[in-house]
């Protein structure tokens, strides 16, 4: 049974970040087996060997890392992945670190780095040019020339084309490996990002025999009772002709309390038999129904756009700034476990009234919900197909703090800290038109990031599409992913 020890920082004014990084690492570790998350300051001698592998996320410069941990890392018999800060405590404690492990850090490198190349030879897999947010000025650790016994796993590429190691690995005196990553890959993340290299490196530590395979998932997004049934049918027909199974999200109640769209309001699924029949047709074409909330909007107000189903967030308060960026304010006023359960129960009734059972899959509208909402979902659904929010308090047991929150997309299937099976959501959606500062996301963008996603040896290309967009966008993307070697599978097989 594979098990992972996740160690994280907790001290200092940024100590809360450590809990978030601990959550994100634990989520990823669950792909391989069980995990235990622990503040590194609580580490005691001998813990390393109780687990298959250990991940330490150094996020607080100067965390008081116990000597017991340093000693066990130096003499490890199991894989250790050390991320970013405080490696100097290990090299200071062991003056023979360089002669033993074959590398030594020099200083943080503050060059602009917009690309990380991974994997590198001797890996037989093709090197991918992963993205990196060039304005991330936190610094990346650099090194003096490394010994031939050290494997450089990934390289940073500066703007002038020069490179230095992003991650490296060597073996210690007792046969255990130490993998060091010179920056924190859990911040400044995006699709096709160097976060994927971190996700793949976990295989070396936790599932080294894993086979390389690349699978794809497709969701048809945001379908509500006002959608055009002919479009639903034509998209499903084309997907079936291409042997592409798919998921499709149904919002069972359309509301538009501010009359933003002028097509009416309070439209339940069963009142539109043509849409109901189109849904049954999609199921016959290999489609799997998913729940996408009860109304995909909140109350009778904007949250943040129009108040209309499909436009707005349902389970979380969001406002829009003048530059059209968003503010994630926290749970809605009524939020509670019972409130969320009530919405799912109401959705279930509407699905049943239209002749469908409650879907087993959930995607929260707008990728946003509270802890209570995610917990409520556990009682109604078995799988989530989405990105999720994680506030502080989930590991610490302290009151949940929505002012300290991180989101995460998964590159492979996990069971997250809420206890739900969560499928990969790596590529986002096709969005043909730009929206102010948010650029369009076209098939070429999705395909380019899917190419980068090949860095994960058992990773997924997962994207979504709106049936009201031109079907050529879907066709280009599906064809492009197939050409990259991806195999589309049903969400039920993920």
């Amino acid at each position: 049974m594979t098990s992972t020890l996740v160690l994280y920082d907790t001290t200092g004014q940024w100590g809360w970040l450590g809990e978030l990084y601990g959550i994100m690492s634990a989520n990823l570790a669950s792909h391989f087996g069980s995990w235990t998350a622990k503040p590194v300051v609580s580490y005691t001698s001998g813990m390393l060997k109780q687990y298959s592998a250990t991940i330490y996320i150094g996020s607080t410069y100067g965390e008081p890392v116990p000597n017991a941990f340093l000693d066990d890392v130096f003499a490890t018999t199991t894989p250790v992945i050390w991320v970013y800060d405080n490696i100097w405590l290990l090299t200071s404690r062991y003056p023979n670190f360089f002669s033993t492990y074959g590398w030594i850090w020099s200083a943080f490198d503050f060059s602009s780095v917009a690309e990380v190349d991974y994997p590198l030879p001797p890996s037989s897999r093709a090197t991918q040019k992963l993205k990196r947010y060039a304005a991330n000025n936190a610094g990346i650790m650099n090194y003096f020339p490394v010994a031939s016994t050290v494997t450089v796993l990934a390289n940073c590429v500066r703007s002038d084309g020069s490179t230095f190691p992003w991650a490296l690995r060597s073996t210690g005196p007792n046969g255990g490996s130490l993998t060091y990553i010179g920056e924190n890959p859990l911040a400044y993340m995006s699709e096709g990002d160097r976060y994927l290299a971190f996700c793949d490196l976990l295989f070396d530590a936790l599932a080294p025999a894993a086979l390389t395979q690349h699978r794809a998932l497709l969701r048809l997004e945001d379908i509500d009772p006002t959608y055009a049934p002919t479009e639903l049918r034509s998209v499903a027909t084309w997907l079936q002709s291409q042997n592409v199974p798919f998921g499709f999200q149904i919002i069972p109640l359309y509301l538009d309390p501010l009359n933003a769209n002028g097509v009416g309001t309070n439209i339940a699924l069963q009142s539109r038999p043509a849409v109901v029949n189109a849904i049954k047709f999609m199921q016959s074409m290999g489609g799997v129904m998913m729940c996408h909330g009860y109304t995909h909007q909140y109350d009778s107000t904007t949250n943040p756009y129009s108040g209309s189903t499909g436009d707005d967030c349902e389970f979380y308060r969001i406002t829009e700034n003048t530059d059209h960026s968003l503010n994630y304010l926290g749970p809605v006023a009524e939020d509670s476990l019972s409130w969320a359960q009530g919405r799912f129960t109401a959705a279930k009734t509407l699905y049943q009234n239209a002749g469908f059972p409650m879907p087993q899959f959930i995607t929260f509208p707008s990728y946003a919900a509270s802890v209570a909402d995610y917990q409520a979902a556990n009682g109604f659904f078995t799988v989530a197909t989405e990105r999720r929010l994680y506030p502080t308090g989930l590991l610490s047991g302290q009151p949940i703090n929505y002012g300290q929150v991180a989101g995460q997309y998964m590159p492979y299937t996990v069971r997250d800290v809420y206890g739900m099976k969560v499928l990969a959501d790596t590529l986002g959606g096709i969005d043909p038109l730009p929206f102010f500062s948010f650029p369009a996301r076209l098939p070429a963008d999705i395909i380019a990031d899917a190419q980068r996603n090949l860095a994960v040896r058992d990773g997924w290309a997962s994207f979504f599409y709106h049936t009201y967009d031109n079907i050529s966008y879907l066709q280009q993307t599906v064809t492009g992913l197939k050409n990259l070697g991806y195999t589309f599978v049903s969400p039920t097989a993920a």
């Binding site: 100097w88 969005d431 996301r441």
Partner: protein
């Protein structure tokens, strides 16, 4: 000495020490720590604009931009939150099951 000049001085000093250690095959591994980066790894959160956009029919994008973009207010891009001096107890251990383990719920709060 300005902060930047001092940081550069420290970096240079550290480099010199470590280079000496390597060239001489000394048992000294190098400086005890690199200088701290000039800023926290995560910058303070962006302040919301004073005026929230008023609702306008047709103003919504094709879908909500939640989770999209390299915007500092996007929690999927980087964690949200500012420095905190609130002292809290050291968290306890937390355990979770793997995705292929049968029963759900252990990870729940």
């Amino acid at each position: 000495m300005t902060r930047m000049r001092r940081r550069q001085f420290l970096v240079g000093t550290g480099v010199a020490l470590a280079q000496t250690a390597m060239v001489g095959r000394s048992t000294r591994a190098g400086p005890s720590a690199p200088p701290a980066p000039p800023d926290p790894p995560i910058a303070p959160p962006k302040r919301p604009a004073p005026n929230v956009v008023q609702p306008k029919p047709g103003a919504a994008p094709g879908y909500i931009v939640s989770g999209r973009g390299q915007d500092l207010s996007n929690p999927y891009f980087r964690p949200l939150g500012g420095p905190s001096n609130k002292r809290t107890p050291t968290p306890p251990d937390k355990h979770g099951k793997g995705v292929n383990e049968d029963d759900q719920g252990e990870n729940q709060q």
